[in-house]
Subunit: 210 residues, 4 copies
DNA sequence: AATGAATGAGAATTCATTCAT
DNA sequence: TATGAATGAATTCTCATTCAT
């Protein structure tokens, strides 16, 4: 008979830890969620948590961050964007980002908390965002005529800016205080805001640095 | 020794506590900053901190928030806003909010961390913001002809929305990743964004709830 | 009414911690004595122990070492040694060292354990011993004609050697396995050994370095 | 695959465990060296360590001590000692003991740490030393005329004393603070010390008990 | 026979809070 | 009013040991 307590499923255990941790953060907040709470709530031993995440809470966040960041972007084929579908494309970009936040609400709370006490994570995050857009847009410009018109550096800055803008507002809307009374209205507003901001942004000579 | 001298000491101590607390939060993060650290770093006894803030950390956050919000809005005579000076008014509103954040960098971080750690505080914050605008705008509408045209409820929602929007982006710009390479550009963008958003917002039938 | 739990007597508390810690080490060994045991056995809160010894066990040892080293040597007026009373002087030196070990049996066990897991402490110990003899003998040579005959460096080396030799054997006798069946016989043997070793040592050209 | 091959693997693994354990003890100290560290560092599974040493750390110490003691004394044919070669014999006895310590530096540290952590182990050690000399000297006295002259009990006590004395000083010299600046000088001193001590010891009526 | 994931008691450490002075 | 020693529950983290595979 298989003893559940001694079952081996590394992947599963790690996912249970992630899920439980982020669930608890949503319920109690980051600083009031302890590794013991996670262990108890996930019905795992505290030792198991420290086996997979030797530095505790911060490790959970850091590793989740490393594992999950890519996933979101992989699903977006930026190269499909052209003059005709810009608004639609941006709408879906915003919508997907929003859905992603919604599905990982706890993670976002945790991540922003962690970033404040972990400069390294903070820098890793910044680098990750920039590098993602660097790589992606470099590839996109090879196949998309519209994008070729815009200098690569500027293109990167525009996307990084847009990504940050959208994230900031989604986070505030979800975690702190709703900006619109329904998510639909909010997403619609966001996509309009993005169009406005891109226009505004592109008219300027100098753009965002990080 | 006069009473005044004593009350000045009291105020000074409270300010030292605020300063030290926010300084430490910036250095180590909210959840890693303890009241004991604050006492030690501020060269005060822990007893003194508990005298002024009987519930500790959360009290500090809560009281500072209340005080700073009042202070900020006292300096802004919303009743002076009219059709002609809306853009200018909003620009200064945004600018002052930004300056306020900059001068009290820790406050924003701390506040958001605290809110994430404590649902109660979170709810108190939301109520506080709404009530603040309720009270303020109620008074403003009595003397400002322009504001009278807009239904009170809608007016409140607009200001709450605007306040949140601006806060969200300032926080992201200061704490996570700059949205523009200089603060000036960022503030200018923000005030344009506010105008855009207000227009957008006011065209809709339903507005933000919290 | 004075609440014992909230009594303030720093000195007393620290001494209770020392006593309890070393007592427990004698009973259970260093690695099996925890700070929690100490707290419980001394009827103090664990917080109190960490107040005075923030790094726990190693701090207790380190601080005790620093405080106690001086004390022993202060009681020995090396300058009174002369050609006539060498043997007698050495006998009393050995005897006092032995008594000191006996009175602080736990400390010695603890100290040697700690030294093995703390290179820094180890080096501090070595430096302390050498510096003590450097300082002391420098002063002694000014007033003692006999000692003036021996070059200062060599004199230091001789005393360091002697001190180590005696400590090594006392420790073994007390902590591991008795070398003689009574303490008296052991001390007598030790003082004879010291005389033998000093003669042996002084006949050599090169002497111990550390 | 032959049985021999298998048993060789077993022996190899045990040796790897010994080596790694003592290496780690030298690096981090006994109480900070865990069986898990040993397994990881030796690239073995923790299960394997518990297969060969069911009681963990203490078993490793205990078994190594037993094995090494036999090995050491096997190489020393005490029965070959006679009146003519006593000094030379003792010199080589001391020299070999020293070499043994040097080659297994960690063992000595580990062993003394372990003994301090565990009264049982301590008592086992004391018994082991005495029993070893009892057995060995009983056999030796049958074939060595010189030894027959000394009463068996006294002979045992002398060897136990000598063994402890030498061990104590070697330990101090290697682990704490050098007694002489070169190992050669130290060994020479030690063998002279042994002769002196044996003479001293044998002149007394009562000898060491344990 | 070998593995190493899993366990959970317990050690180390922190920190909000109390209260005698 | 101000202090800060003292508290001890809660948290983080380690480690000897077990056991399914």
């Amino acid at each position: 008979m298989s003893n559940k307590k001694f079952s081996r499923n590394k992947e599963e255990k790690i996912n249970i830890i992630y899920d439980t941790f982020f669930k608890l953060i949503l319920q109690r907040g980051y600083s009031k969620t302890s590794t013991n709470h996670v262990a108890e709530s996930a019905d795992l031993s505290i030792g198991t948590i420290y086996k997979y995440f030797p530095k505790g809470k911060e490790d959970i966040i850091r590793k989740y961050f490393e594992e999950s960041m890519e996933t979101f972007f992989d699903s977006h084929n930026l190269s499909k964007m052209n003059d005709e579908n810009v608004r639609d494309f941006l709408y879906h970009f915003v919508l997907d980002l929003f859905k992603n936040h919604k599905e990982n609400e706890g993670y976002n709370l945790a991540f922003r908390s962690a970033i404040q006490s972990d400069k390294e994570l903070h820098n890793a995050y910044k680098a990750k965002v920039i590098n993602f857009f660097k790589d992606t847009l470099h590839r996109v410009r090879k196949v998309n005529e519209n994008m070729k018109k815009i200098p690569e550096n500027q293109l990167i800055e525009v996307f990084v800016f847009m990504y940050n803008l959208v994230n900031a507002l989604i986070y505030h809307h979800l975690a702190l205080m709703k900006l619109f009374d329904t998510d639909d209205k909010f997403v619609e507003y966001l996509s309009n805001l993005v169009v406005f901001s891109l226009n505004y942004y592109l008219k300027r000579d100098n753009v965002a640095s990080m």
